[in-house]
């Protein structure tokens, strides 16, 4: 019997710890598939891949991606990736970070990685909440959104409006390619895969900093079913965080 479909080789056989309905599983798969395809296409030597996991829900990503991996301190993944990539410039390097990690405690590191035009790819998973610690307000939490630290809903006058990371980073001269995607529909999943693979290809071509923001659900901490969470993302997150290419120096 011939094998028609199997787990991508860039994922280990470790069982994901993610909650039911969480989008991390889809996004992990897209990242791993993209790398595996580049290897199959002869564009990347197997073994020349290093990933950096964050602190947050995807803290154990080093167990799932089947390549050399780092587990970084909270928010510091871009600095770790900088050191790793500078030490092994021929390697494909990526960071995988959530919005608490990247958009809050790690803003200096991500801004300056983009500013220096570091040649690695950041996968930025934005679910508008701190997942791992149990649903606290993030810089990306929408106005009015209830969390355990904004029990009456996010008050813009008190703690500002949600930060738009992709738009912000696209203003930095060193950033090469920035796109915001979502994985709420099959069509969007395919678009996300295309964006991730394009970012990796840019890195292989020696281009500058690339970031793919992926809007994601958190049914557990949003207090919604997986299906309701997808609807909430579509109705609330996408209007505030519009999908699409924010910057693409390669297409200019």
């Amino acid at each position: 019997m011939s094998v028609v479909f199997e787990r991508t080789k860039l994922l280990t056989d470790k069982q994901f710890h993610y909650c039911p309905g969480c989008n991390h599983g889809i996004i992990h798969r897209l990242v791993a598939e993209s790398i595996d395809e580049l290897i199959q296409e002869g564009k990347l030597e197997a073994g020349n891949v290093m990933g950096v996991a964050p602190v947050g829900c995807s803290v154990f990503a080093y167990d799932y991606f089947n390549c050399d991996m780092y587990e970084a301190a909270h928010g510091r993944a871009p600095a770790v990736a900088t050191g790793a990539k500078r030490a092994r410039p021929g390697t494909l390097v990526f960071t995988y970070q959530g919005d608490g990690d990247l958009a809050s405690i790690g803003t200096a590191e991500i801004v300056h990685a983009a500013h220096r035009g570091e040649k690695f790819v950041t996968i930025f998973v934005n679910n508008a909440i701190y997942g791992m610690t149990g649903g606290q307000m993030a810089p990306t939490t929408l106005v009015g959104q209830k969390t355990t630290t904004s029990p009456n809903g996010r008050d813009e006058a008190w703690c500002g409006a949600p930060i738009k990371i992709s738009e912000m980073l696209s203003e930095i001269p060193g950033a090469y390619y920035i796109e915001r995607c979502a994985v709420n529909t099959n069509a969007n999943i395919l678009k996300t895969k295309k964006a991730i693979k394009k970012a990796f290809q840019y890195q292989l071509d020696g281009k500058g900093f690339c970031l793919i923001e992926v809007l994601s659900t958190c049914p557990t901490n949003w207090g919604l079913s997986p299906v309701e969470a997808m609807t909430w993302l579509e109705e609330n997150m996408i209007p505030y965080y519009p999908l699409g290419v924010k910057k693409d120096k390669g297409a200019e």
Partner: protein, 371 residues
């Protein structure tokens, strides 16, 4: 070999390169800025990498990233900057990453001042970051000694898989001294010798090719640079493993200097530049017939407790004078080691004032007179 007159910071930087360091990540801060300045010009000449980070926080995490590939990596800073690095240092210790960190100490707390100080002894020796960890910590008292320590620092860091910290007061970095610079060491990452490093693993690779598995208790053949062990049992095993390493380092890595202690009735304990001032005071006191000697720890972690006891716990020794440019930080290790066997007096200055030979002499004379 001819002696060269070099500024401490530049000599230390050059020694790091000669010891095989090819990656430097740092951030400007007085009084060590000459180190990144020197590195920025010198690293490209040897095919190395100098990168000015956006902060000390980022710099130490770049060290984490580069050291994870097995390269020899160094960062330098001064006290407030080293405080910022503590998070990353704790992660390097947890992930067992060999690397070298230079602290050119200045006055504190907070912004303090920019003059030389010894006030980061506690931070360096007792652990500045979170968790049960130690760093191999050296306190050079001359530019030459800083060079000589650098030449074995990376080897020690790699042998024990732990970061090495230099506790150098600002004077060591800022003064010029004639030095003998060693020959360049050729260093290349050898995946066989560093099976834990991210040197390029791919699915299907024969695990045996990597030598041993990543660590004693995690069944992965990939390079995984990590300090999280989420269940209590594995964190316990990890920490016991670290403690076993520290025990071995304590047994093998204590270094110290005895100066005129053989017949001494009074022993001065001091580290770094203060120890040199003490030597002059000792020579002058001996001209007056006062028998004084110096015990100087060079490794302040592991602290040479046994050697100190052997030097001091002798019948003819009447007392100990501990001299530091802080409020008495190493003093705690001196007292801990002596366990009350001899009276210990402290003399120190705060705010970066260094003790003079006259001040040290009058302290010893006061002790002699029983004051």
């Amino acid at each position: 070999m001819a002696l060269t007159l070099m500024k401490g910071s530049e000599a230390i930087a050059e020694a790091a390169i000669r010891a095989g360091a090819r990656f430097f990540f740092g951030y400007p801060i007085t009084p060590q800025t000459e180190i990144p300045e020197y590195m920025s010009a010198r690293m490209p000449e040897v095919g190395g990498c100098f990168l000015q980070a956006e902060s000390e926080v980022a710099a130490i995490n770049m060290v984490y990233g580069a050291a994870g590939t097995g390269a020899r990596v160094i960062t330098s800073s001064s006290s407030p900057g080293v405080s910022l690095k503590q998070e990353g240092i704790s992660y390097c210790a947890g992930a067992q990453l060999p690397c070298v960190i230079l602290n050119v100490m200045r006055g504190g707390p907070g912004l303090g001042n920019i003059q030389a100080s010894q006030a980061d002894y506690f931070q360096g020796v007792k652990g500045g970051g979170n968790g049960d960890y130690h760093l191999l910590t050296y306190a050079p008292s001359s530019v030459q000694e800083a060079i000589d320590i650098m030449m074995f620092a990376f080897e020690k860091a790699e042998k024990y898989r732990m970061p090495v910290l230099f506790l150098a007061d600002g004077i060591i970095a800022q003064m010029m001294e004639p030095v003998e610079m060693p020959e360049m060491v050729e260093y290349k990452v050898d995946p066989e010798k560093k099976p834990w490093a991210c040197t390029g693993w791919k699915p299907g690779d024969d695990p045996a090719k990597r030598g041993v598995i990543n660590s004693i208790y995690i069944d992965t053949k990939r390079g995984v640079i990590n300090s999280i062990y989420i269940d209590t049992e594995s964190l316990s095993i990890h920490n016991e493993h670290l403690q076993a390493i520290y025990k071995e380092a304590k047994a093998n890595e204590q270094i110290w200097e005895n100066y005129k202690t053989e017949d001494a009735e009074f022993i001065i304990t001091a580290f770094g530049t203060v120890a040199r001032i003490a030597k002059t005071a000792i020579d002058e006191l001996r001209e007056q017939g006062v028998k004084v000697g110096l015990f100087r720890p060079i490794s302040v972690w592991p602290f040479p407790y046994d050697a100190m006891r052997e030097t001091i716990c002798r019948d003819q020794v009447k007392g100990v004078l501990d001299v530091e440019v802080n409020e008495g930080q190493m003093l705690e290790d001196v007292k801990l080691g002596l366990e009350g066997a001899k009276p210990v007096r402290f003399f120190g200055h705060l705010g970066s004032q260094f003790p003079t030979t006259d001040e040290i002499k009058s302290e010893i004379l006061a002790m002699k007179e029983g004051k």
